[in-house]
Symmetry: D2
Subunit: 334 residues, 4 copies
């Protein structure tokens, strides 16, 4: 292997990295990439435990390349994550800044979602510590990257689970309503729904109606589908999944209907190959970005290229569902 | 390969096979074994769709060795399953008998649980059609076999899911209550709980108390466990899983508690190797049993040997939880 | 759900679909999408068995929406695939054309790789039957699409296998050389290598040398890595994997070295979510393309949009490895 | 949970545990059980790294309950394993004994296979340090236990891989020869072969012939099987798998034949539920056995009960293949 020369101008001497907000598979892979890239370029790297809480409390350790061995394939985050109320207060952030000063930290790499980025942005504006965001969330709703870390793994977990439900649905000619995660975003629902041949997919991005749903059931009967799965995003506005099931039962009393909420299994598990590569790429890109003088940005991948988006844009805007996919899902379901 | 001679005395000319009750991974493998073994010994084999309902309705097809190709690895049951109310009535069973006569069926292989076996027993007593049961249920609560078909797969599915929950529990220092299947039996809960290092395991076979549970939480804190999973069997009598979580939150207000009900994913999926081999063994054993003149029995595996148990025993008695395992679980959790 | 109006001008009345060349997970999902989309728009759809051989032999069946149920999650291809020598001859293609005429087929959807596309191109040029290609190959080396169908699944299969090898490598402080598929392309090697923290990755796109490899081993020793995995693409030009292992053993006699060739497991398995969605998208896009008058093109996805590339370009050009990833792999390995 | 009283007479104050020989999934779960059970009963527990080599070198650490957290689900062994040549010499064992004396170790728990047990036996005879064996090997060939730790996981890994190969075999009407592990024992081959519907299974325990194999192929053609998988145990005496494939090609020149050697993927991976529970049970049983005064025995599970077998029996005798299964495999293959 050919050796890479260290970049010449490098004003960053010391960085800290944390994982924050809801955990996502691949956060460890991103952490590993941050630590090893930093060390490769002779930048000190500190790991902060439990998100901003650890920064405030000084729960920080220096990390070398061996600190992150054998974690690329592990779900969760070895740094642990948290949502920090104290960091939302000026006092909390002041304490955090004092810790940074004590350790001589020039920049913080924040692996998390938009809530975590907001904290980073405010912190930078108040105290000047450089910040860079790495998008880690299964929800895939962050602007500035084609995909977020953890999303691909969550899709496969949801799909595997719905495949299993399909086995029993088909064996009993049943109707299943399956709730998947995604907060206000329908990415997981739409894609796992297409991948499992769901009869219908209910997502917050589209105004659904019970009448449309019932019409779909009627069409399914006509074409001879003997079992059906309806995938519902957790943020769906048509109603609670149990209410949907109840309303369906009232309309079709002979249906044998079941409800499953997949829940937190979607947040765990060994990351998929795509997530590990994405996380490795982004963790590397975060350190390179800081070395190149980037600040208050989020690193993302678009069309296989590393891109940096102003962090306020990453916070305000949101990735949009591909409306074509909704149409395709409808056509392919029958 | 050496050829096997057909057994000499074979009064069984024609059998029918059905899957009944809750479906279980491996039912297809058992079906395949029944069909191929029957065909090997020149016995006609009919597949009945949707359990006893299909027998009553005459929804029956002749099956050859190629009818069951590529199904050994598939979850669910290609014959579909159902719980038949009509078969509980004398009129329903009379119709079923007439179908048997029409097709010349000498014996029925019933792949299912104790409810399905009860139907088979009554049917035999009324009309003399021979019956043999094959234990297929994820609950593992059937007497006369070390393990039931589907149990091992369900264990692995439950374990994989709890492993994933463990990732996120550990990342956030959370407490999870996870409900697994098993009706009145704690097999899945106990074994998946041990396999995932659950802090506590609540099963119907043991009288649990909230005080014991709380004491366990307190011990866990003392030894420094930062996250905890409590596995709860669906038949647990201490209370609904949401009530347990609520009571725990009241006792430990600082705990971050989540509930997950794994639900029907435990019934599906490609069967494990152990389940496919067990199902193959039992499907073979069912046909051999009939050829040897067995009737009104259930075929099971005990210590790697095929055994036949009177079907009324299989219905009345139940496999018992290994109490030692409860003790071991307790010791290993901390 | 809202209904979609049929497109108005539709000169395509009847299409045929085949899978050709090496099979890839997701081909069934693509087939399902072609069949259901065609039927949705009232286009007749014929399934051709065993690639071009089936077209020549008239091994063709009409397919409706129910013909493709329960296949979206299955590896392989229910149409079967083959490499057809007869179709490479003018006589073979003439027979194929006669079959098309007999059935009134206006266009052929060819799911396969560049070899299969070449056949389609020549066939179109000779006989005027419209053709459209759908990129299905695990190798990901086809120009005109960000990813090919089956590639993501193959990556995950390779990664899972190497993860397992890592367990035993670490337990024994061993060095493993692992060969992955990809013909002349290093995509699987590079990405699975990054995802598993491989010490080195040898791919045809880079001129590797034994000296570089040995230097990498020496660096690994210095930084204290106790076990190592080297991922080798099957088309690597530095030498046969066994020769590489042998040369390494000569250089480092105390190394405990093992070789594993992952082989055909990389071609099978239930497709990943990304592959199922991609295949659904492309199968839909193929039919829409034909309806819109496209001919002699390949349908691909670039930046989440359906794009059509002249089929000769898809054949001649090749996707290129991201050279940055090689650099990143090197940095993150230590 | 009710508390368990410590056993009254306990002459064991301090034990050491090691993993030795080929690693197997579940060794970590067994280690965890040994460490936690020992600590529960106030017995000091030392972990020895890299098998007997670590004992000789004094590479030993005291382990508490937290030392083994989060390892129950990990493949490999955190203690690492090795085959120790030095321990085969009297000098090596003398050094090992001196280390035991230095640390005050009363007994050694050896997790491994028969080679490792032989070392333990000799060590005990020479120096009187108590020893107990825990059967950890994927080969399942150890007498005194229904199953060995790692066997069930290896079965599932082999099966999953062959399932994937089946996808591509069926798509191309190919014949695959697949070699699985098992040294001189055919357990993995026989059970994974049955579970995947292999056409034929070649194992060392049966005298196979090429003529039988060819006859089986001919029968398969007659019954219309379009693809075939032959599972071959690595210890098969009929010949090298490549030679078998070559001989078959000569006999059936039109066959499209491929060979896959699954190799070391079968040694890794997260252990199955059955293996984790078995390992937990046996690890617990090892410590309890020592507390009860057992020595020079192996702990095993037979019919769900913990049993202790003299270690020389465990070494000399071997588990036998169930010959019925061979017959069943043959019947079910067609």
């Amino acid at each position: 292997m050919k050796k890479i020369k260290n970049m010449s101008e490098n004003n960053i001497k010391s960085i800290a990295v944390l994982t924050s907000g809801g955990d996502a598979p691949g956060m460890n892979a991103a952490l590993r990439a941050v630590v090893r890239t930093a060390n490769h370029f002779n930048i000190d790297c500190y790991g902060i435990r439990e998100g901003y809480n650890g920064l405030i409390a000084g729960d920080v350790t220096k990390m070398g390349p061996r600190s992150v061995k054998n974690i690329i394939n592990q779900g969760g985050t070895i740094l642990k994550s948290a949502r920090s109320k104290e960091f939302m207060t000026p006092e909390g952030r002041k304490k955090a800044y004092e810790q940074c000063q004590k350790l001589g930290i020039d920049a913080i790499v924040c692996i998390g979602g938009d809530g975590s980025f907001t904290g980073a942005k405010v912190f930078n504006e108040e105290f000047g510590i450089k910040v860079i965001g790495v998008p880690g969330t299964i929800d895939n709703d962050i602007f500035g990257t084609d995909k977020t870390i953890g999303y691909d793994t969550a899709l496969n977990t949801a799909m595997d689970s719905i495949d299993k439900i399909r086995d029993t649905a088909t064996s009993h000619n049943r109707v299943f309503f399956v709730e998947v995660m995604g907060r206000d975003a329908g990415f997981i629902a739409l894609n796992s729904g297409i991948a499992t041949g769901a009869l219908d997919i209910l997502i917050p991005e589209r105004r659904d109606s019970l009448d449309d749903l019932f019409e779909t059931f009627e069409t399914a009967e006509k074409v001879g589908k003997s079992s059906s799965i309806v995938v519902v995003a957790e943020g769906e506005e048509l109603g609670n999944i149990y209410d949907l099931a109840k309303a369906t039962k009232e309309k079709f009393p002979n249906y044998d209907i079941r409800v499953t909420i997949l829940g937190h299994i979607q947040r765990g598990g060994s990351p998929s190959c795509a997530d590990r590569v994405l996380a490795s790429h982004l963790g590397y890109g975060a350190v390179i970005g800081l070395m190149e003088g980037k600040n208050k940005v989020m690193v993302g991948m678009q069309s296989n290229k590393i891109v940096y988006t102003p962090i306020e844009e990453a916070i305000k805007k949101h990735n949009e569902i591909d409306k074509d996919l909704l149409k395709i899902a409808e056509i392919l379901a029958m």
